[in-house]
C-alpha cells in the first residue's frame, strides 16, 4: 500500500509505544500516534492530555488539548494543579511527547520566539507544559517533520531542555530523568548517542537518501554504525490510521457555522 511521509512518521512512533506506557500526549502527530498505538499494538496504554484528562480514549482525534471528547471518555479528569504536581512532577509519566518550532542536535526545543526574546521576529505560543514535561517525564519522544527551518544548528530560545551541550550536562544539572530518547520524523528515526547525547540516525525511511536528509537538517548528521531501513507501514496500520483520521474529519466538520 502507498503511504505518505506523515503516515510512516505516525506509524513509526505508534509502534514504539507499549501497553504499560503512561503518555503525556500533545496535539497533532503525537496525538495521532498515541491513539493509533491504542487501536493497534498497545490497547492498554494510558493516555493523559494536559487539560487534566487521565486514561482517555477518544473515538476521534481532538482539535484542542481540552476537547470535551477527552473528558467524557477519560477515567477521571483532574485540576490543573493536580495534573502538573501529582502526575507530572510526581514522576508518573513514562513518555512525554513534545514537538518543536526549532530543535537542535541535543534535543533542546524552542517554541517561544524566533529571533530575540525582547524584540522577536515571530512570537510563538510559548512553552505551556513543555519545560516540565521535558524534565519530569521518564523519557521524552519528539515527533516532527524535518526542515532546515526547524532542525537548526542553534535554537533561538531554550523553551524545553534536552541535553544542553550534550554529554553529562543534563544529569549534572540534577535532572534525574532520561530526556529525549527518540526522535521520529517524516524521513528517519533518530536516537541519542549514549555518550555524547547527540541525536544520530538509527533508521532511514525507505527511499530517503543521505543527501535529502542533509538538506533538511542544519547540522552535520551522524549515522549509527548499525543503520537500518525503517519498516513501511502495514496495511492494517494504514487502515486503522486512515479510519481514525476520517472519523476525525467528519466529527470536526459537524461543528460548523460559528454564528459568531
Amino acid at each position: 500500500m502507498n503511504y505518505s511521509s506523515y503516515e510512516i512518521m505516525v506509524v513509526s512512533a505508534a509502534r514504539l509505544l507499549k501497553n504499560d506506557d503512561v503518555c503525556f500526549v500533545g496535539i497533532g502527530a503525537p496525538s495521532a500516534a498515541c491513539n493509533l498505538a491504542k487501536l493497534t499494538n498497545a490497547p492498554d496504554i494510558t493516555l493523559i492530555y494536559e487539560s487534566g484528562t487521565i486514561g482517555t480514549a477518544p473515538d476521534v482525534l481532538p482539535l484542542s488539548i481540552g476537547d470535551g471528547e477527552l473528558c467524557s471518555t477519560a477515567l477521571t479528569t483532574v485540576s490543573g494543579v493536580e495534573m502538573f504536581n501529582y502526575w507530572l512532577q510526581g514522576g508518573r509519566i513514562t513518555v512525554g511527547f513534545l514537538g518543536a518550532a526549532q530543535l537542535d542536535r541535543f534535543g533542546n526545543i524552542n517554541t517561544t520566539v524566533i529571533g530575540n526574546y525582547e524584540k522577536p521576529k515571530v512570537r510563538l505560543p510559548g512553552g505551556g507544559g513543555a519545560p516540565e514535561i521535558a524534565s519530569h517525564s521518564k523519557q521524552v519522544y519528539i515527533i516532527m517533520k524535518q526542515s532546515p527551518r526547524s532542525f537548526v544548528n542553534k535554537i533561538d530560545f531554550f523553551t524545553s531542555y534536552g541535553f544542553g551541550n550534550g554529554f553529562n550536562e543534563r544529569s549534572d544539572k540534577g535532572i534525574q530523568t532520561k530526556g529525549p530518547q527518540l526522535l521520529v520524523t517524516d524521513m528517519a528515526i533518530w536516537k541519542p548517542d549514549p555518550t555524547t547525547k547527540e541525536f544520530e540516525v538509527v533508521a532511514l525511511n525507505p527511499g530517503v537518501t543521505r543527501e535529502a536528509m542533509q538538506e533538511s537538517v542544519g547540522w552535520p548528521i551522524r549515522y549509527s554504525e548499525t543503520l537500518d531501513e525503517n519498516i513501511p507501514p502495514t496495511k492494517l496500520e494504514l487502515e486503522v490510521l486512515r479510519d481514525l483520521q476520517e472519523r476525525t474529519r467528519i466529527a470536526h466538520s459537524k461543528t460548523g457555522n460559528s454564528g459568531q
Partner: protein, 282 residues
C-alpha cells in the same frame, strides 16, 4: 453571599481601569460573554493573567485595553498563533504589551499559592529552561530539609477572577464540571470572583466530591446561557471548532479585526450567546 446580577452590573461594579484580572478556563468554559462585556465597559490598562490566553485575550489585547499579560501558553488552541498578541509583542500595535512568561506548572502553582494565602509557590521546575534567565519573577530557593534547589514564583493575587460554570443553585453555590483547569484556585486566589453560569437550578444534586465553589466565596453570579461560546460547556453544548479556525483569518488583519469586534462584540449584548450555541446543543 453571591449577588445575582446582570452581567453588565457585575462587570461595571467590580472591574476598573488598571485592575488585575484573570479570566480563567483551560479550553473548556472560557468566559467569553464576560470578556465581551468587559470590552464594552470601556475600561483600559488592565493587567491580565491566564495559563492559556486564547481568543478572548487576543481580542482584549487587540482592542488596546491591556498593558501587561502574565501567561504560560499564548495560542489559539489546536489552530496556531494569536495574531493580535503577536502584533502587540512584535510591533507594539495598538500599544506596547508587557509580558511575564511562565510554564503551566508554575502558573498552576501560583494560583494554588494565592488561594492558599501563601506568598510564593515552590516547584521542581524550569530546569535548564530559558525563561529562568529572562523573567525576574522566577527565582531559586533551597529546600531547608534536603538542600535541593527548587524554583520559586510569586503567588497570583488578582483583584478579580472571572470564570464560567455550568450552574448555580438558588443560593448561589456554583458547580464546575468536566475539564476544570485552575478555575477553583483562580476564584479563591482573587479578592473578588465573578461567575457566569448556564442556568440556575433549585438544587445542584451532585456527588459529595464535586467541584463546588460556595456562594459565600463568590462576589457575583450572572446567568448567561451560551456564555462560553465558542468554547464549550460540558453537558450543554459542544466546542465550536470552526469559530477558532475562523478567528485565525479575522485576527490576521487589523481592519478586519476591528470591523469584526464592532459588529460582533461592541454592538451586541450577552443575550446573543444563547443563539450562537443553538446548533451546538446536544
Amino acid at each position: 453571599m453571591a449577588k445575582f446580577q446582570s452581567l453588565s452590573t457585575a462587570i461595571n461594579e467590580n472591574l476598573f481601569s488598571g485592575s488585575f484580572v484573570v479570566f480563567e478556563g483551560f479550553t473548556h468554559l472560557i468566559p467569553y460573554a464576560a470578556a465581551h462585556e468587559t470590552i464594552r465597559s470601556g475600561i483600559t490598562d488592565l493587567t491580565l493573567a491566564r495559563m492559556t490566553p486564547d481568543v478572548i485575550y487576543d481580542q482584549m489585547i487587540g482592542m488596546g485595553m491591556v498593558s501587561k499579560l502574565v501567561f504560560s501558553y499564548a495560542g489559539n488552541p489546536g489552530v496556531g498563533l494569536l495574531r493580535r498578541l503577536r502584533d502587540a509583542v512584535e510591533n507594539d500595535w495598538p500599544r506596547p504589551l508587557a509580558i511575564e512568561e511562565h510554564s503551566h506548572a508554575a502558573m498552576a502553582n501560583s494560583y494554588e499559592a494565592g488561594a492558599s494565602n501563601l506568598p510564593l509557590a515552590i516547584l521542581r521546575g524550569y530546569q535548564g529552561a530559558g525563561l529562568k534567565g529572562i523573567n525576574a519573577n522566577i527565582k531559586s530557593i533551597e529546600c531547608p530539609f534536603t538542600g535541593e534547589t527548587l524554583a520559586a514564583v510569586p503567588a497570583l493575587r488578582p483583584d478579580v477572577a472571572v470564570i464560567h460554570a455550568q450552574k448555580a443553585d438558588s443560593k448561589g453555590n456554583v458547580l464546575v464540571e468536566g475539564i476544570i483547569g485552575v478555575q477553583k484556585q483562580a476564584a479563591l486566589s482573587a479578592k473578588k470572583a465573578i461567575v457566569t453560569v448556564e442556568e440556575i437550578v433549585p438544587e445542584l444534586n451532585t456527588h459529595p466530591n464535586a467541584c463546588i465553589i460556595p456562594s459565600w466565596a463568590i462576589t457575583s453570579i450572572s446567568v448567561v446561557p451560551g456564555g462560553a461560546h465558542p468554547s464549550y460547556a460540558q453537558g450543554y453544548y459542544e466546542r465550536d471548532n470552526s469559530s477558532y479556525l475562523e478567528w485565525d483569518k479575522i485576527s490576521s488583519d487589523r481592519n478586519a479585526f476591528r470591523d469584526w469586534m464592532q459588529k460582533n462584540v461592541l454592538e451586541q449584548g450577552p443575550e446573543v450567546f444563547n443563539e450562537r450555541v443553538e446548533h451546538l446543543r446536544d
